[in-house]
């Protein structure tokens, strides 16, 4: 006899006979219904319903699958996050970790809001729609806190663009197709909603061929008094569903994101990818913010993973209430959606509000004015029970606590040390110039202008430091973008996104410290004080101990850095299962750093400003070639990855920030991928000016030029200030040395024996064509 029993109702709802099912049947039910729940979880559900003395409906079971998915309840990651990363107290924290976005103090009356998320699985199947809805989702996360979005960030990771089609595993799309689709999706959605895309990264590695990663971040600004919680207000309040209609797109998005992809994913999971509509989103943002500013709302939360089933439960649970929902009042895109489909659909552009009955009319007026649908679909109740009705029939009744507080695991993990020995014996390259040419045109260093200029990075008119900096027409990559969020204040926010998966692949712990270091360096480079960060942790299958070991190491490193530096993690997201049967992604802890710029008029850019200035290297250069671009060019694994020491970093950051206050610094940039060579090359390109650099005698040339040691900056200063600056920094125990002077048309390195020089023009051409030449025109 079938375990699926159609209930005697005038519409399609099934009772699932789990009470009489054995383990094998339970696991088959989970598979048949696409629940992605394991047998233990199914048994827990069976126990719950056994106590209730009845079987669950399909609506109930589907709802549990959403709520208990990795994506929604962080069941494999929470243990580690709590242990290492959460709970960093900082005076600027207002509302961190607990909501969809972190809320941090900006000034006395304002807060900024930060969110960062992945949209990996959908983008691997449908890059355009996947990335577009990623932008849509992250905007809602910021808006639902009551904040106006002011900037978008998009770190992207793909397989090598020149990978031959023949070598792609079955079902995997070519990285060039994926990249073009993802960039177009971000462009068409971000540009249309009118929020500038100001920072990001594009990183290429074989590890992303089977699973590209699409991370999206958003920053918003709000008056502190307008910050609203993602929880129901009071019993008796009405649930008002606003925005787009509900359809069959995006069904099982979260359960899809909580499993590995395989060659059938394209066929089986297309329906899990949502469809975005920025022209519903744009007025939805206005309407939500207007209603919130008028104090007409008691709670607001966006509909993301799990759709209605998650938003109602989470809003009610965090307020200590229950809820009643009438599914037939949800406006639909098409007829004949089954009740469970309405309940779990992840259709985009929707927001849930709770409203006191006396304010309903006013709220509906505002949404009508903006032509955004808004409908009462339920109410908040005193008890902690969630009841769902469809055409007056009860189809769902469960304790909110049971549904929404999903399982939590400490799965077995294994830490693997993969870092090799320090090389020492690798001979210096015979042809340094050829190595330099390869480095500056390496896809992970080369210009990303083709993507950056497709994103509107200036809409809203507040972008002070743009993603591309330098002489118009010659611009180079900046370290951070700077936004001026308020019309009547010079205070600004610096924004950057960083991680170097070449390092984390070899050593997730030290690689993560290096990512944190780079984030801080980029913020300090533009003269901002690192203030908070969000993380998007992209890893493989957590049920495999080695992957979870990598995750553990990365989170442990983040906690160490963040705690020691006093920079709180305010929001984030974990994306597991970035894995296929034949590959998994390198550990990728993407960080989005936010810095406070005391006065945007004092921001610093990275392009060389004039001839005859002095270049000072700040920080120590060690032999750290592990995961370096140099090691890739030479085709040798070269041991030790660059690592950071938060105490040293803190001291150097403070030194540099006080230097900015005391002296006029013409330009500042940090050596990262490609080392001092690539750093100087980028500074020369942006300024259209060359420089003459002395390579120290005591160091191997390749170490000086290409090592990627952390906690370093190069600053351009006036000749007359240089002595004082050295003294100023030395007094603060920040290592410095004068390495050269600006001028001429070449980047020239003088060693004891030879002069290595390349014209800035050639560097510029190599740098600009590095990726474009792989894109087939």
């Amino acid at each position: 006899m079938s375990v699926y029993l159609k209930k005697d109702l005038p519409f399609e709802v099934y009772e699932i006979d789990i009470l009489n099912s054995d383990d094998a049947q339970l696991s088959r039910i989970s598979e048949d219904m696409g629940l992605a729940l394991n047998t233990d979880e199914m048994k827990r559900i069976r126990d719950y319903f056994r106590a209730k003395g009845r079987n669950p409906t399909d609506v109930e079971l589907q709802s549990l699958a959403q709520a208990w998915s990795e994506h929604c309840c962080y069941k494999s990651s929470k243990y580690f996050l709590k242990k290492y990363l959460f709970g960093i107290n900082a005076p600027q924290n207002i509302l961190v970790i607990e909501e969809d976005a972190g809320v941090v103090e900006f000034d006395e009356n304002h807060a900024y809001v930060v969110a960062l998320e992945s949209h990996n699985h959908p983008s691997a199947i449908e890059p355009y729609g996947g990335s577009a809805t990623g932008i849509g989702g992250i905007l809602r996360d910021v808006v639902c806190m009551g904040a106006q979005p002011i900037a978008l960030v998009d770190p992207l990771f793909f397989g090598p663009l020149d990978i031959p089609f023949e070598s792609l595993p079955k079902g995997v799309k070519h990285p060039l197709y994926l990249m073009n689709g993802v960039v177009a999706g971000i462009r068409d959605y971000g540009n249309r909603v009118g929020i500038p895309t100001v920072a990001g990264m594009i990183f290429f590695d074989e590890g992303y061929t089977g699973n590209c990663l699409v991370n999206v971040g958003c920053v918003g600004i709000a008056k502190k008094e307008n910050i609203i919680r993602s929880r129901a207000g009071n019993a008796g309040d009405l649930f008002v569903l606003t925005g787009g209609r509900t359809g069959r797109d995006g069904i099982h998005g979260v359960t899809f994101a909580s499993t590995e992809l395989d060659e059938t994913s394209e066929e089986s999971s297309r329906g899990a990818v949502q469809l975005g509509n920025p022209i519903i989103k744009e007025p939805l943002i206005h309407a939500c913010l207007e209603a919130n500013e008028k104090k007409l709302l008691t709670g607001m939360k966006d509909l993301g993973g799990g759709g209605l089933s998650c938003v109602v439960g989470e809003m009610a649970l965090s307020a200590g209430y229950g809820a009643e929902v009438y599914l037939d009042r949800v406006p639909l895109k098409e007829e004949n959606l089954k009740p469970w489909e309405i309940w779990v659909s992840e259709s985009q552009e929707r927001m849930m509000l709770t409203v006191r009955p006396e304010n309903l009319e006013e709220v509906l007026y505002i949404f009508d004015k903006w032509d955004v649908p808004a409908n009462v679909i339920g109410r908040v109740t005193e008890d902690r029970i969630l009841k769902v009705y469809y055409r007056d029939h009860l189809v769902y009744e469960m304790d909110i606590e049971f549904v929404t507080k999903g399982p939590e695991y400490c799965r077995p993990f294994k830490v693997e040390k993969r870092e090799g020995e320090i090389h020492g014996r690798v001979p210096e390259p015979v042809d340094y110039l050829s190595v330099m040419r390869s480095i500056i045109s390496h896809p992970n260093i080369a210009s990303k202008e083709f993507a950056i200029r497709q994103y509107d990075h200036e809409v809203r008119g507040n972008t002070i430091i743009k993603p591309l900096q330098g002489i118009p027409g010659n611009e180079s990559h900046g370290d951070s973008a700077v936004i001026k969020p308020l019309a009547d204040s010079w205070k600004g926010l610096a924004i950057t996104a960083d991680v170097n998966p070449y390092y984390t692949k070899i050593d997730p712990y030290w690689g993560t410290t290096a990512a944190f270091d780079e984030m801080c360096r980029n913020l300090v480079s533009v003269n901002s004080i690192p203030h908070s960060f969000a993380d998007c942790l992209n890893f493989g299958n957590p049920e495999k101990p080695l992957r979870l070991g990598d995750f553990q190491e990365s989170v442990r490193a983040l906690g160490w850095m963040a705690r020691t530096l006093g920079i709180p993690c305010v929001s984030g997201n974990v994306s597991f299962y970035n894995e296929t049967p034949y590959s998994y992604v390198p550990p990728t802890p993407t960080l989005m750093g936010i810095g406070i710029v005391e006065d945007v008029r004092k921001a610093v850019t990275m392009d060389i400003k004039k001839r005859g200035s002095v270049l000072i290297l700040i920080g120590e250069t060690k032999e750290e070639f592990g995961g370096s671009v140099y090691s890739k060019i030479r085709g040798i694994e070269m041991g030790r990855v660059p690592r950071s020491d938060p105490v040293r970093l803190k001291n150097s950051m403070e030194g540099l920030l006080s230097l900015f206050r005391e002296f006029s610094i013409l330009s500042c940039h940090d050596p990262s991928e490609g080392g001092i060579f690539a750093c100087l090359a980028e500074m020369c390109i942006g300024g259209g000016i060359g420089c003459d650099v002395e390579v120290p005698d005591e160091m191997r040339k390749d170490v000086f030029l290409f090592s990627e040691s952390t906690t370093r900056w190069i600053v351009e200063v006036r000749e007359e200030d240089s002595r004082d600056i050295l003294e100023f920094l030395n007094k603060r125990n920040v290592p410095t040395r004068i390495i050269g002077r600006t001028g001429g048309r070449e980047l020239r390195f003088n060693t004891g024996t030879e002069n290595l020089s390349i014209s800035v023009k050639e560097l510029d051409e190599l740098w600009r064509s590095g990726i474009v030449s792989l894109m087939g025109g």
């Binding site: 249309r192 744009e282 200036e458 809409v459 002070i464 008029r601």
Partner: protein, 273 residues
Amino acid sequence: MELNEIRVAVLRIEGTNCEDETVHAFKNLGVEAEAVHLKQFYSDTIREEEKRNIRDYTAIVFPGGFSAGDYIRAGAIFSARIKSVLRKSLEEFIENGYPVLGICNGFQVLVELGALPAFDKTISDRPEMALGINNSGRFECRPTFLRVESRNTAFTGSIDRDIVMFPSAHAEGRVIFPDGREEEWLERLKENGQIVFRYVDPGGRYSGYPWNPNGSIYNIAGICNPDGNVLGLMPHPERSFHPYTHCSWTRGRKETGDGELFFRSILEYMMKL
């Protein structure tokens, strides 16, 4: 007109997205400006206190963005709505000499509407030109430099610089004239003094891509009507209002943003009305 009599309406519908910064550009100069939803002019569902009449204003701006998504043709839907609810009063508004400005998507709206180039009538029955897809085939967000070709307009009178930097950000900005009549159209525009801004490189020379970001004929970035009180331009003056939003300001900064001079010109024109 006194400064305190100036009222600027920045029109919005779903998908317009530059209204806030455009309103601020005017407000920074001490005049009243507000973003007004087109519905506020005609819809019965709007409450009394939010209803507006075009006669309440002394200047109208069509801001940048993607009105109604621009899925059909940039500006097509917004202009169709204007035609159906506001055409007559907008015509009067223009004929009375009040300034009407279209920035980026707003330029596209004015062209679709027939308010530019408006050779023979205030609002022509059919569009007389078009803004086509950029030659690069892509959205282009980049600094653009413009030579001010005419100061005899409601928008440029106080720009005391030959070259201004207003950033561009659009996918459809290439000025196209009817096939075979390009020369004739150019001549008419020149004769009437309707060419207001042309793309140049940072050195002030008329150049090709990327300085002409879309491939516009004759490097045209902005044109006005024969009377000079309706202007459309692709680049965004509101984005270089402050010296600190200029590109590369860290390499040398102007005292006043180029965009401020543009908006100041509009106010000075109105004060003479």
